[in-house]
């Protein structure tokens, strides 16, 4: 400690004043013999003692007050070593890159590490001084970045205070690159990046340098605790497990130990928020293993949310992972064979049946019944109760493959069934006469049929392929085409030699062309009939007019079409959605979709956001957990749509907190010129003394008053 004005210390002699006053006052005290005081006051011994003590305390307070005045005038100061990073005060450009990845929620000494980081960042901000132009860049993946530097330090301070760990992994390299861009736009000579980060190796891409040699100076603030052991459930898969019954499923959880020591981990499986199984796992340091849980889904539910969690460690967010387990709904298909043959592969429905029920397995998810066009007569309601009767209500989908025009009665029975929610797929063929179709079949079609065209008519055998049509321009967002990529050679390579052309549209609603051929003719048309749907494919479902059935795209296309018509979609939850990714949901003819996240916040899609669309894109997946979907159908009834619900997990890359080596950080540039900062700073103490003096005077006043 030192003094700026040490001569003032001579004033300490003034301490003698209160002492002298006290002593002289004592000697000069008048002596009075007075009986009453002793009788009244000193019988209370405590009063006397208190009076004596008060006199002494008063003397002490006065001495200290005098000393405080003298010391304050002498301007004492102390110097202390600067802690933390080197920060230079003055005009400059600086960017604070703060790690707000989910790993920043790691609990250190009872508080998230991020609290420590923002405190340090605020300290740096203060030390930079008001002339510095500063920006704060968050280094979590996908974080929004500021567009410019600012001198509004108050706002920056508020930003730091409001900062919370996100649910995304770190992308430090991107944050540094953004910092470099911001600094490049500044005219200041001194440019510095302060990196307040856990510096996890997974957040850095050493081969992707954010700046070159002339880049800003990089000051890495090391606030990392010495050890950061972490356990995480890094993946969770669900597979059907027939061995555990028809509702049996197996959950495979990948569990990783990102620590330096072995760990025994207690795991639990919850289905629909109820713990149904527990298990333990011993993992060596750095080991990753799979833990399998067998369970049955609760009765009555086709789909359920499940999660595997491990006993909490310092980073809780990656201790739990969700998955959506669903049993496949069987689609019941009534397949009408319009051109039955004795040779199996010549049969009109051979490929359709094979595609709908691959390998003829029980678990294919589809139940197919093949009948001939004549047998279709048995759908007549008057046949009900007879052995031969076919009840359309027992089926979800009716496929008319190359079926000659049906009588009006049958069409009206089928149309009635479609209106009440059935789905029908019509494909033409040589048995189909467009004129006859126009007469009776229009209630079932989105558009009337015209005569087919043969694109290879008159062509030489070698030219046949080149004149064939191909499928192009399909609705990629439509549930039927969702499994396909944009190019999808498995569809695009199929050759169509003959297609049926289309006539005027019919009285159906929501008519939509889902796919077209290279010549612009419609390939697949969809329309709504009441609560049901109709699909018209303008070529055959066997190899008579095209070779689509022998292409890999035929199976997913037909299964997708059957499920779409039956309104039974493949579970979307099976895909692993990460926090921040967008999720595509089929609108399924709903008027309104409401998605409720794990934090209870809802997003609603209605009106223009949903009308006329077959799917919607939901992007507010900012927290891991279960997202539930409530759908309002055309009748106004709102129900939770189990099949549309999905789960979102964190990207487990961020769970590996292994620190990056110094070499992994981008090299620190010159950052402009600048004198090295003073390593120590002076702290003046007279303010404290002045405050103490005020308190002492107050105390003295109180003591005198009493």
């Amino acid at each position: 400690m030192g003094f700026l004005a040490p001569l003032m210390l001579a004033g300490l002699a003034a301490l003698a004043v209160p002492i002298a006053i006290h002593l002289i006052g004592r000697q000069r005290a008048r002596i009075v013999k007075f009986a009453a005081l002793d009788f009244l006051m000193s019988t209370k011994r405590r009063t006397a003692r208190r009076l004596r003590l008060r006199e002494r305390v008063l003397l002490l307070v006065r001495i200290i007050a005098c000393a405080a005045v003298v010391l304050a005038l002498a301007k004492p100061f102390t110097s202390c070593e600067r802690k933390g990073p080197r920060v230079t005060r003055g005009p400059q450009a600086a960017v604070l890159v703060v790690d707000d990845s989910f790993a920043a929620g790691y609990i250190v000494d009872g508080k998230p590490w991020l609290a420590r980081a923002t405190t340090e960042a605020r300290r740096i901000l203060t030390q930079l001084g008001p002339e510095a132009e500063v920006a704060i860049v968050r280094s979590s993946e996908g974080a929004d970045h500021p567009t410019e530097l600012t001198r509004d330090h108050l706002r920056l301070r508020d930003q730091l205070i409001a900062l919370e760990p996100s649910s995304r992994p770190a992308d430090t390299t991107r944050g540094l690159a953004r910092a470099a861009q911001l600094l490049a736009a500044s005219s200041h000579a001194r440019k510095t990046v302060y990196l307040v980060s856990l510096n996890a190796k997974t957040g850095l891409r050493p081969d992707d340098l954010p700046w070159g040699k002339d880049g800003p100076e990089l000051v890495a603030v090391d606030l990392r605790p010495e050890k950061m052991p972490n356990l995480a459930v890094t993946a969770l898969r669900v597979v059907p497990e027939p061995g555990a019954g028809t509702r049996g499923v197996a959950f495979d959880a990948d569990v990783a130990n990102f620590s330096d020591t072995a760990a025994k981990i207690e795991l639990s499986l919850s289905i629909a928020d109820r713990v149904v199984a527990r298990g333990s796992l011993e993992l060596a340091k750095g080991e990753k293993r799979v833990k399998r849980f067998l369970a049955t889904l609760p009765p009555g539910a086709r789909a359920s949310d499940a999660s595997v969690s491990l006993d909490g460690d310092a980073l809780a967010i990656d201790d739990r992972r969700w998955v959506r387990a669903s049993l496949r709904d069987e689609v019941r298909v009534l397949l009408v064979d319009g051109d039955p043959r004795t040779v199996r592969h010549d049969d009109e429905v051979f490929y359709v049946e094979a595609a709908l029920r691959p390998g003829d397995r029980e678990d294919s998810g589809t139940l197919v019944r093949v009948i001939t066009a004549e047998e279709l007569a048995n759908i007549d309601p008057r046949m009900k109760g007879t052995a031969a009767a076919i009840e359309l209500e027992s089926y979800d989908v009716l496929i008319l493959a190359n079926v000659a025009a049906l009588s009006s009665e049958r069409v009206s029975v089928i149309a009635q069934w479609v209106r009440s929610g059935g789905g029908i797929l019509v494909a033409p063929g040589d048995q189909v006469d467009s004129a006859a179709y126009d007469r009776t079949m229009l209630p079932l079609l989105p558009q009337s049929l015209r005569d087919p065209i043969d694109t290879t008519w008159g062509a030489q055998a070698e030219d046949r392929d080149s004149r064939a049509l191909h499928l192009v321009k399909w609705e990629a967002d439509h549930p039927i085409f969702m499994p396909f990529s944009k190019a999808a050679p498995e569809l695009a390579d199929a050759k169509f030699f003959k297609i049926a052309l289309l006539g005027p549209t019919t009285a159906t609603a929501d008519r939509k062309v889902l796919a077209r051929f290279t010549n612009g003719a419609a390939a697949l048309i969809e329309a709504s009939i009441g609560a049901g749907r109709t699909l018209l494919f303008t070529s055959t479902l066997d190899r008579d007019w095209n070779d689509l059935p022998i292409h890999p795209g035929f199976l997913p296309l037909l299964q997708g079409a059957a499920r779409h018509l039956a309104r039974k979609h493949a579970s979307f939850g099976e895909t692993d959605h990460f926090v921040g990714s967008s999720v595509v949901l089929p609108t399924a003819d709903l008027k309104k979709l409401e998605i409720r996240g794990p934090d209870g916040k809802s997003s609603a899609f209605e009106g223009d956001r949903i009308a006329g669309r077959s799917s919607i894109r939901f992007g507010r997946t900012d927290r891991p957990g279960v997202f539930r979907v409530t759908g309002t159908d055309l009748t106004g009834g709102a129900h939770e749509r189990d099949e549309l619900g999905f789960v979102v997990n964190i990207d487990s890359r961020g769970s590996d907190l292994t620190p990056a080596a110094a070499a992994d950080l981008p090299p620190s540039g010159s950052g402009g010129s600048g004198a090295p900062a003073d390593e120590s700073r002076r702290v003046e103490l007279w303010h404290a003394l002045a405050a103490a003096l005020l308190l002492l005077l107050l105390a003295e006043g109180l003591l005198v008053q009493r």
Binding site: K33, A35, L37, L40, T43
Partner: protein
């Protein structure tokens, strides 16, 4: 109640010669404004009427009866019995305090001398006990002779000249009186400042009253003891102990006065509850006024309260 002009300043009185003169001056001063008859018969009991015949004292004529029956009747009294009066003087060291004028001991002594003078004139038996110093026995047994007054006053004079010593409270003296009087009731007049840490005096006074003695307390305080008029750093030294207290009087004045008031309230309350005749007098109050207060209060007491 007749009011008395404060003719005689206690300070002036102090300058007068011997105690008998002071006593006489006070008594005459006190009685000059009163109807003397009020004091007569304070020691006699009315017995019956008899018709007036020449030679009877005119002062015994019952004028009320004359007004009613138009005849002169003379009130006959039972044979006068002498009243025994014990005067108790607290001569402890605290009584020696004087804030400027007469000390409390002097004031108490002169008051008791005046009462003795008056009582002897009325043929009452008057005794004296001075308390304060255990080593000095000061006891004058009750007598009614005129010459006894001289003895009484000379003892009082000696005690006052000696000044307040010791720390004994009047309680011991009062207990002794209780033993001496046995079953005979007496009038006990105590002049004290009641500075008694153990409240023993109060309890003995209460006990005496319970034995049907007539008790009067002349509580004497110095005006300084009531107003605590000190200022500046002062060392207060106790009179009955070696305690000293260096203090700024202003700092404790409020608390002192509160405690003094509480003390006075307690004394008055205890006395009144016990039926003890209590008079608070400061040393700057005219002595004849104090004397008159005592006498008037006594004259107001009914016959049942009279000691016989």
């Amino acid at each position: 109640m007749p009011t008395l002009p404060e003719r005689i300043d206690p300070a002036q009185l102090a300058r007068l010669g011997s105690l008998p003169i002071k006593a006489r001056v006070i008594v005459e001063g006190a009685l000059s404004g009163m109807h003397r008859a009020r004091l007569h018969g304070s020691s006699v009991e009315f017995a019956e009427h008899k018709e007036y015949s020449p030679g009877d004292e005119l002062r015994h004529v019952d004028w009320k009866a004359y007004a009613k029956v138009d005849r002169y009747y003379v009130k006959q009294f039972e044979q006068e019995s002498q009243l025994t009066i014990y005067l108790v003087l607290d001569a402890s060291a605290s009584m020696g305090f004087s804030g400027g004028g007469m000390s409390k001991l002097e004031y108490a002594g002169i008051s008791l001398a005046a009462l003795a003078y008056l009582a002897i004139q009325q043929q009452d038996k008057v005794g004296l006990v001075a308390s304060g110093d255990k080593a000095i026995e000061t006891m004058v047994p009750p007598r009614a002779r005129t010459t006894h007054l001289h003895d009484l006053l000379s003892v009082l004079d000696t005690v006052m000249t000696r000044g307040g010593t010791g720390d004994e409270t009047p309680a011991t003296a009062l207990k002794r009186i209780a033993e001496l009087t046995r079953r005979r009731r007496a009038l006990i007049i105590v002049a004290t400042d009641l500075f008694d840490a153990d409240d023993e005096t109060l309890s003995v006074l209460t006990a005496l009253r319970a034995q049907r003695h007539d008790v009067s307390v002349l509580h004497i305080l110095d005006p300084h003891e009531l107003s605590f008029p000190y200022d500046g750093l002062t060392q207060f030294e106790a009179l009955e102990s070696t305690n000293k207290m260096l203090v700024n009087p202003n700092a404790i004045k409020r608390e002192y006065i509160e405690r003094m008031q509480a003390f006075l309230t307690k004394c008055r309350g205890t006395m009144t509850a016990a039926g003890v005749d209590y008079h608070l007098a400061t040393t700057d109050t005219a002595l004849e006024k104090t004397l008159l207060d005592v006498l008037v209060a006594r004259s107001k007491l009914g016959p049942g309260r009279r000691a016989s």
